[in-house]
């Protein structure tokens, strides 16, 4: 089986999500290739090769919004090489290309995959719904290529044998008006402390924090623990913190060693973004809050007492 994995360059290197999918593809067996939207550095190629790519089809990102041209290029490559399975990640550019490619090829996409299996020459895709309590297994009808979009952190990225992939430079065709978007500026938002996706500890808050000005205690706790701060959608909608801090179905998917859930009830849409965290600690005044159903330590109490007391206790330790 030929498995192709789309990987986007992020911050100069292949995105972690792409390496996760390459690792999984390698484990599924067969012939693995990467479609890499990024530069040509030896380090990047080595990372792709070591994670499983025998061939890298490289697309040059340039300053044009890439999805339209990349989907057209992929349509050409698919026609030429007939891959059986194409994997994309649940990330902005991956989604933009996967959706367009699906329409171009008139082939379905199964999204939100948390696992993939190959059985009887077909592909089974595993989804989790209802806050991760129910697994749905879906197969493709008809002929491939099969396209799947994989949720971040579903697999661990692990290097295998060192390999130097064959690199095939691939041009992105001019797609006319559909490809007319141009990237004129790129901004990196640097936050103090670690990124949410990489943090070992996350301090997350929900609407129960009460107000924007009561949020600072979470920042303080995160600072003490070297943690990242996250939030529920309700908090983002209320404008207390930016969307980039949102964890859940429509936000980031995280899997830290420790997750401290403060005054968040644990709506299904939030749980799908964090339920695979190592240790979950929850503080909520509502003893019926669903978050307690998955918390290793649940504290029924007032977050505005417990968290400041925790901050003070940690300060006292020096």
């Amino acid at each position: 089986m030929k498995i192709w994995v789309f990987v986007e360059e992020t911050d100069g290197s292949p995105a972690e999500l792409g390496l996760e999918m390459l690792t999984k593809a390698r484990g599924l067996g067969g012939e693995v290739s990467a479609v890499y939207l990024g530069g040509t550095s030896d380090a990047a190629m080595a990372a792709l090769g070591t994670h499983g790519a025998g061939t890298v089809y490289r697309l040059d990102p340039g300053s044009t919004l890439p999805a339209s041209g990349a989907a057209a290029a992929l349509e050409g490559l698919v026609g030429e090489h007939a891959p059986d399975l194409l994997l994309f990640g649940l990330a902005p550019t991956d989604r933009d290309i996967a959706g367009r490619l699906s329409a171009r090829l008139d082939k379905p996409v199964i999204s939100n995959a948390v696992d993939l299996e190959i059985a009887d020459g077909g592909v089974k895709v595993v989804n989790e719904i209802l806050g991760g309590t129910t697994r749905v297994i879906t197969t493709y009808a008809g002929d491939g290529p099969f396209i799947a979009v994989v949720r971040p952190k579903s697999f661990a990225a692990e290097p295998g044998d060192v390999g130097v992939p064959a690199v095939v430079e691939t041009a992105m065709p001019d797609t006319g008006h559909a490809g007319a978007g141009t990237i004129t500026e790129r901004h990196e938002e640097t936050s103090e402390g670690p990124k949410l996706e990489e943090a070992e500890v996350i301090v997350a808050g929900g609407r129960g924090m009460g107000a924007a000005d009561k949020w600072a205690v979470l920042d303080e706790l995160a600072g003490q623990l070297g943690a990242a701060v996250g939030a529920t959608r309700a908090v983002v909608d209320a404008g207390w913190v930016p969307y980039s801090l949102q964890i859940g179905q429509t936000g980031k998917i995280v899997k830290p060693g420790v997750y401290i859930a403060c005054a968040l009830s644990g709506a299904m849409q939030h749980l799908v973004g964090m339920k695979d965290s190592g240790v979950i600690i929850a503080v909520n005044k509502d003893e019926e809050a669903p978050i307690f159903g998955i918390a290793d330590l649940g504290i029924v109490g007032d977050v505005h007492r417990v968290i400041p007391a925790l901050v003070a206790a940690l300060s006292a330790r020096g």
């Binding site: 902005p92 367009r100 939100n112 129910t134 500026e185 938002e189 404008g239 429509t250 339920k275 330590l297």
Partner: protein, 258 residues
């Protein structure tokens, strides 16, 4: 500016939805609500239409039911709605949905198509991109800010590292993230007016599509099993009586965070 906004009626997300044990489709009550995340797109459309003396058409593929969700969207100020509800649509996948929406939008000659990044109930998150491809439009996705510039649009697009500024001519498609704008609350006048605003309900055949394009047949996939996921049970639950924070300290020590 003529603007089409994709919206969806969904089961109230406050109550967990159910799957039909036979078909595995989501059981949809007659009264569905407007997907809350659609309010950002509607608000953006209203602001742009107000600035350009334009119009806002809602386009939706979902069981019409009592049209409660569509009326909620009209009450915010949209001019009219097109809702496609047809028995043949049950079980449609993202691509089938995009085909239906694109056929409905083609007739509108919209300068701008706006959608959310994904629905709250299905959250496949690919329909807008498919729609852009089918309509031949640039897709300015994951926008956290949208403004008019030089006859086109200037958008701040969320990325893994921060955001990119993206510029595009019209016509175009935009997907908006939560918080991109502040959705207005419907006024009493808006709610009253929504009751008499035009709602078109074309059939799949009216849109020039066949049963093979949509529904289960057009979805190209089938569910083979629905099963409970391995449970992650809860652990210890204690009531804070002034010392509970010390339990957190213990766990942080065990995890070697401190």
């Amino acid at each position: 500016m003529k603007i089409a906004v994709c919206v969806k009626q969904i089961p109230d997300p406050a109550t967990p939805y159910e799957l039909d044990p036979e078909t595995h489709f989501v059981v949809r009550p007659n009264d569905q609500v407007l997907d809350d995340t659609d309010r950002y797109g509607i608000e953006l459309a209203l602001q742009l239409a107000e600035a350009t003396e334009g119009s806002v058409t809602l386009v939706s593929m979902s069981p019409a039911g009592g049209l409660q969700g569509i009326r909620q969207a009209l009450a915010m100020g949209a001019d009219k709605a097109i809702i496609i509800d047809d028995e043949s649509l049950r079980g449609s996948g993202a691509l089938g949905t995009a085909k239906v929406l694109s056929a409905a939008i083609k007739g509108e000659e919209a300068d701008l198509v706006i959608a959310g990044t994904e629905s709250t109930d299905g959250y496949v998150g690919l329909v807008p991109q498919m729609l852009a491809e089918l309509l031949g439009l640039p897709a300015l996705t994951f926008a956290k800010k949208v403004e008019q510039a030089d006859g086109g649009l200037r958008v701040e697009r969320q990325t893994a590292l921060g955001y990119d500024v993206v510029e595009s001519p019209l016509p175009a498609l935009v997907t908006v993230t939560s918080g991109a704008v502040e959705p207005r609350y419907p006024t009493f006048k808006g709610i009253m007016q929504a009751k008499s605003k035009p709602i078109e309900q074309p059939s799949v055949a009216d849109l020039g599509l066949t049963a093979e394009d949509v529904g289960v047949a057009g979805s190209g996939q089938h569910i083979t099993a629905v099963e409970p996921a391995p449970e992650r049970g809860g652990g210890v639950k204690i009531v804070d009586e002034g010392e509970a924070h010390l339990e957190i300290v213990k766990i942080l020590e065990q995890a070697k965070v401190i």
